[in-house]
């Protein structure tokens, strides 16, 4: 949950700010990327990210919650059907703000706020995969232990995922590392052999 904003609202008052941010959010989901002032972009970010979280949940109640902020049904539909699947794997951080320097007319610092729709980087993906694997391992163990005495089950279930998870990730990382090492080690060995001859 974002922290409450301190200090004066944007625009004329609280109601004006709500309308203003609602319009900014609508434009952001419609165009995927908008140019605005830094202050507005910073206020928009927590609101927009919460709306994306609702979109990922995807049920009717969530849709109605989003419709209280974004009044355009077409844009809400696009958010739920097109944007939400693209950020399904992303654990938060759905928007990116980049500063682009002052505006010409009034020297206001401007920024581009855009939705982060690229797939997760390989490093982030492996971390997500590892956490998912530990969850699966924990779930698999749970039914087996259910037959065992009740007191022993929770203690073992807690131990099992911790032991298994590092092994799986270690294997994934070790495999390419070994593949690189093998030719590298062979070459110097052959050179040494030649030298001794």
């Amino acid at each position: 949950m974002p922290t409450p904003t301190k200090g004066p609202r944007l625009g004329g008052g609280p109601a004006h700010e709500r309308l203003l941010l609602g319009n900014l959010a609508t434009s952001l989901f419609e165009h995927r990327r908008i140019t605005t002032t830094e202050a507005k972009a910073k206020r928009l970010r927590p609101l927009a990210e919460r709306l994306v979280t609702f979109a990922k949940r995807g049920d009717l109640a969530a849709r109605r919650r989003v419709l209280t902020v974004v009044k355009d049904k077409g844009v809400v539909h696009e958010l739920f059907t097109e944007i939400a699947p693209l950020v399904a794997d992303r654990p938060g951080g759905y928007t990116r703000i980049t500063k682009i320097g002052p505006r010409k007319g009034d020297n206001a610092p401007m920024a581009v706020i855009e939705l982060v729709l690229e797939p997760l980087s390989p490093k982030q993906a492996t971390v997500a995969e590892a956490t998912a694997a530990t969850k699966r391992a924990a779930k698999k163990d749970a039914p087996k232990k259910a037959a065992a005495p009740v007191e022993a089950a929770p203690a073992e279930a807690e131990d099992a995922p911790v032991e298994e998870a590092p092994v799986e990730t270690a294997e994934v990382e070790a495999a390419p590392a070994e593949a690189q090492d093998v030719p590298a080690e062979d070459v110097p060995a052959e050179k040494d052999a030649d030298d001794t001859k």
Binding site: T35, T98, K99, I100, G101, K104, M110, V112
Partner: protein, 62 residues
């Protein structure tokens, strides 16, 4: 209401204003086009920031 008793001399005014100084902006070099740019901002000459390009940032004036 309190008001000044005497007109302030030009010397005093100018002595006060002599302390108004501008500080130079701390610039860094754009890794892509080597032009000077402000830190944490897209480059105003080529629009590059973190290996992405922002056309909105490019400034033709100045």
């Amino acid at each position: 209401m309190a008001v000044p008793k005497r007109k302030m001399s030009r010397a005093n005014t100018r002595a006060r204003r002599s302390q108004w100084k501008a500080t130079p902006a701390t610039l860094s070099t754009c890794p892509k086009c080597k032009a000077p740019r402000l830190s944490h901002q897209a480059c105003p000459s080529c629009g590059a920031y973190n290996e992405r390009t922002y056309a909105e940032a490019i400034r033709t004036d100045a």
